[in-house]
C-alpha cells in the first residue's frame, strides 16, 4: 500500500473475475471471466445493455460485493482477502461513489452529507468542515451548503454526491449511471464536472448506457453477457 509504488501500480487490476448467482442448472453467470486494468488518471466508461454484467462489475470494483473467483487488486491491495471492517476502510478511503439516484442521506444538509465520509474516517471536526466546504466549492455549490437534499434540484444533488465522493481524495471515482436521473442540462453540468476532475488527474470509472456520457471518456469498454467485448484502448478478441 506504499504510496511510492503508486507510479507503477494500476488503480484497478482485475484478472479472470467471475460472479455466479445460484448453483447447478439454475446458476446465472453475471460475470464470466473479466480482465481489466485501469491505470491511475484514466477516464473510463463501461457500456453495455442491462444484464450485460456492468452493474455486477461496478459492485465488485466498488467493494460492495465480491466475485466468485478471480483476483481483484485495488491500488495494489487484494480486496478478496479483506475482512468486513477492512472493506469499510477501503470503501471509505480508496473509492468515491456516485449513484444514479444520488443516495444522499435524507434530512441532512449538503455540508453534513459531504462531511459524512470524513466523519467515518475519524477526521477532526474543523478539518472535516474545511475539506467539505472545499469539495462543495469545487462542484460549484458553495452557496448551497446548508440546504437539505429535498431542497436541491437533481443536478445539484448529484453535484453534492460528487463532492462527497471526492472529499476523501480517493484513488477511484466510481459512477453508476450518474446522469440516468438527470435532465439534459444537469447532465451537461455533471459531465463537465467529470471532465474537469479527469483533467485534474483523477481516475474515473463511469458505468452508463448513454453514448453521450461515454463520449466524454477517453476509453470505452463494452460488455455483453458477462464478458468484455471491446476496449477502445486495446483490441479484444471478439466472438
Amino acid at each position: 500500500m506504499s504510496l511510492h509504488r503508486a507510479a507503477h501500480v494500476p488503480a484497478i487490476d482485475i484478472r479472470a473475475v467471475t460472479k455466479t448467482y445460484g448453483e447447478g442448472e439454475t446458476a446465472v453467470h453475471a460475470l464470466a471471466g473479466v480482465d481489466l486494468v485501469i491505470e491511475r488518471g484514466e477516464y473510463v466508461a463501461v457500456m453495455g445493455a442491462s444484464g450485460s454484467g456492468k452493474s455486477t462489475l461496478m459492485n465488485i470494483v466498488g467493494c460492495l460485493d465480491t466475485g466468485s473467483s478471480g483476483r481483484y487488486l485495488l491500488d495494489g491491495v487484494d480486496v478478496r482477502r479483506l475482512v468486513d471492517s477492512q472493506l469499510s476502510w477501503v470503501r471509505n478511503r480508496k473509492i468515491g461513489f456516485v449513484f444514479q439516484s444520488f443516495n444522499l442521506v435524507p434530512r441532512t444538509s449538503a455540508l453534513r452529507n459531504v462531511e459524512l465520509p470524513l466523519a467515518y474516517a475519524g477526521v477532526p471536526k474543523d478539518e472535516r468542515r474545511t475539506r467539505a466546504l472545499a469539495a462543495l466549492d469545487r462542484v460549484g455549490l458553495a452557496d448551497r451548503v446548508d440546504h437539505q437534499p429535498s431542497e436541491l434540484s437533481g443536478g445539484q444533488q448529484q453535484r453534492v454526491a460528487v463532492a462527497r465522493a471526492i472529499v476523501t481524495d480517493p484513488v477511484l471515482l466510481l459512477a453508476d449511471e450518474p446522469t440516468g436521473a438527470l435532465d439534459s442540462r444537469s447532465t451537461r453540468d455533471v459531465l463537465a464536472l467529470f471532465d474537469e476532475l479527469a483533467a485534474e488527474g483523477r481516475t474515473l470509472l463511469v458505468i452508463t448506457h448513454e453514448d453521450e456520457v461515454a463520449a466524454h471518456a477517453r476509453r470505452t469498454i463494452r460488455m455483453n453477457d458477462g464478458v468484455v467485448v471491446s476496449d477502445s484502448a486495446r483490441t479484444v478478441g471478439v466472438a
Binding site: 460492495l64 469499510s88 470503501r91 443516495n103 441532512t108 465520509p117 466523519a119 467515518y120
Partner: protein
C-alpha cells in the same frame, strides 16, 4: 468516528419522525411513572399503618385469649370478633372435648393490677380491661350512627391508649365503681349525631342500642390512617357496658401499659408469670397471648411489603411493554432506513458505527422516556391516591430510570445488529 457524531446521527434519527418518537417515549414514560407512583403508594400505605400502630403507643401490651375457634387477636381496642356469652350460657355451649374455654377475665386484669401494685410486676404502669360491644347503633335527636368500636373499660384505659379528652371530661373511677352510664365519644360519632360543633353533645344523653348513656366528653381526634377510622369509637365504664350491652362474659382483651418502651419485654414476662399461675398452664400450653405494638408492626410491615412488591411487579410489566414498543419502533426504523444504512456503509461506515447509531437512538428514546417518567412519577406522587399519601422511595426512582435505560440497550441491540448486518449491496438496492 467519535461519540459526539454517533449521538448526533442518533438525534437526527429520533427527531426525523417526532410523533412516532413521542409515542414510543410515552410507553417508557408510563412504565417508569407507574413504577415510581405505585411503589410510592405501597410505601405510603406501609408508612400509614406504621404510624397508626405507633400511635397506639410503643409501650402498650395487649393480653388476649388465644383461641383457634373464636375471635383471634384483638387489637388494643378490643376490635376482634370475640364471642361473649352470658354467665349461664357458658356451660351449655362448651364443646365436649374442651375442658376450658380460652378466655381472659376481669379477674385476670385485677390480678395483673394487684401484682403491679404489690411491686411483683414492677414494669407494669397501668392495666385496663377491655369489654367490646358489637353492632352498637347510637341515636340522638333523630340522628343515628353505627359505632365501629364500642369499648367498656376503666378510666386508666385512656392513658394506656394515648387517648385524650378534647371537650368535657373523662369518666371517673367513682363512676366506674358506681356502674354509671356515662361515655366519652370519638369525633366521628359526635359529628354524625350533632354536626360539626361536637362540643354540643357534652352533657346530652345518647341512646346506644336503646340504652341511654350520658356523654361526658369528646375524645381528641386521632385521624384515620388506612381503612380504619380511629375516631369512630365510644368508651364507657366496663361495669355499665357489661350491665347493658355486652353481658358478663370474658373480656375482649386486657390493655397493659409498661413503664417505658424499654420495659415492654419485662412487663410481658411479668404478665406471663401472673397469668400462667392463675390459668395453671406452662409456657407451651398457654391459652392466651401477650402482644405489643412492635409485633403488630412486624406483621403489618410484612404484609405491606408483599403489597408493595406486587404493585411494583405490575408496574414493571408496563415498563417491559414500553421496552417492547421501543424495539418495535426501532425495527420499523431500521427497515425504513435500509437505504440510508446502505449509503452509510458504501461511504465507509463500519459495523460498529451502524450498531452505535441505532443503539444510541434506542437508548435516547428510552432515556428521554425514563427522565420524563421520573418527572411525572414525582409529580404524581404528590397527590393522595385511594386515600393513601404516596411516599416516594428513592430506590424506585433510581431503579425505574436505570431499568428504562437498560431496556433501551437490550431492546435496541437486536434492531441495531440487524441494521449493521445488512450487506451494503442489498441495502442500496432496497426500495
Amino acid at each position: 468516528m467519535n461519540v459526539g457524531e454517533v449521538l448526533r446521527f442518533a438525534w437526527q434519527g429520533v427527531t426525523a419522525n417526532k410523533p412516532r418518537s413521542a409515542l414510543t417515549t410515552l410507553g417508557i414514560l408510563i412504565g417508569v411513572a407507574a413504577v415510581i407512583i405505585l411503589v410510592a403508594v405501597g410505601t405510603g400505605s406501609s408508612k400509614a399503618v406504621q404510624d397508626q400502630i405507633s400511635s397506639l403507643g410503643s409501650n402498650t401490651l395487649t393480653v388476649s385469649a388465644s383461641s383457634t375457634a373464636a375471635g383471634g387477636r384483638g387489637g388494643p381496642a378490643g376490635g376482634g370478633g370475640f364471642a361473649f356469652f352470658g354467665a349461664g350460657d357458658t356451660t351449655t355451649s362448651q364443646n365436649a372435648t374442651q375442658t376450658r374455654q380460652p378466655e381472659v377475665t376481669m379477674a385476670d386484669a385485677e390480678a395483673i393490677a394487684a401484682a403491679a401494685e404489690s411491686g411483683e410486676a414492677s414494669a407494669v404502669l397501668g392495666v385496663a380491661p377491655v369489654v367490646s360491644a358489637q353492632s352498637v347503633t347510637a341515636t340522638y335527636d333523630g340522628a343515628s350512627h353505627s359505632v365501629s368500636t364500642f369499648t367498656g373499660t376503666t378510666p386508666a384505659y385512656l392513658l394506656i391508649d394515648n387517648s385524650e379528652v378534647d371537650e368535657g371530661r373523662a369518666f371517673t373511677d367513682a363512676e366506674y365503681t358506681a356502674h354509671r352510664r356515662v361515655a366519652v365519644v370519638g369525633t366521628s360519632v359526635a359529628e354524625d349525631l350533632v354536626g360539626d360543633d361536637v362540643g354540643d353533645l357534652v352533657g346530652e344523653t345518647v341512646s346506644f342500642n336503646g340504652i341511654e348513656f350520658e356523654v361526658v366528653g369528646i375524645l381528641a381526634t386521632k385521624g384515620s390512617s388506612g381503612p380504619q377510622d380511629q375516631d369512630d369509637r365510644v368508651i364507657a365504664p366496663a361495669t355499665s357496658v357489661q350491665d347493658t350491652l355486652s353481658g358478663y362474659g370474658a373480656l375482649g382483651s386486657i390493655s397493659v401499659k409498661a413503664t417505658s418502651a424499654e420495659a415492654v419485654d419485662q412487663a410481658e414476662t411479668e404478665i406471663y408469670a401472673v397469668l400462667d399461675a392463675r390459668h395453671g398452664v406452662t409456657s407451651t400450653e398457654r391459652d392466651y397471648s401477650v402482644s405489643n405494638a412492635s409485633s403488630f408492626l412486624e406483621a403489618a410491615t410484612a404484609s405491606n411489603e408483599t403489597f408493595t412488591v406486587l404493585l411494583g411487579a405490575v408496574a414493571a410489566i408496563s415498563l417491559l411493554v414500553g421496552g417492547i414498543g421501543v424495539m418495535n419502533i426501532m425495527l420499523v426504523t431500521v427497515t425504513e432506513r435500509t437505504r440510508e444504512i446502505g449509503i452509510r456503509k458504501a461511504i465507509g461506515a463500519r459495523r460498529g458505527d451502524i450498531v452505535g447509531q441505532f443503539l444510541a437512538e434506542a437508548v435516547m428514546l428510552s432515556l428521554f422516556g425514563g427522565a420524563m417518567g421520573v418527572l411525572v412519577g414525582l409529580v404524581g406522587s404528590r397527590f393522595e391516591i385511594v386515600g393513601v399519601q404516596p411516599v416516594v422511595a428513592a430506590y424506585s426512582v433510581g431503579l425505574a430510570f436505570g431499568v428504562s435505560v437498560l431496556i433501551g440497550l437490550v431492546f435496541g441491540l437486536y434492531p441495531a445488529n440487524r441494521a449493521a448486518a445488512l450487506r451494503p449491496i442489498d441495502a442500496l438496492r432496497y426500495e
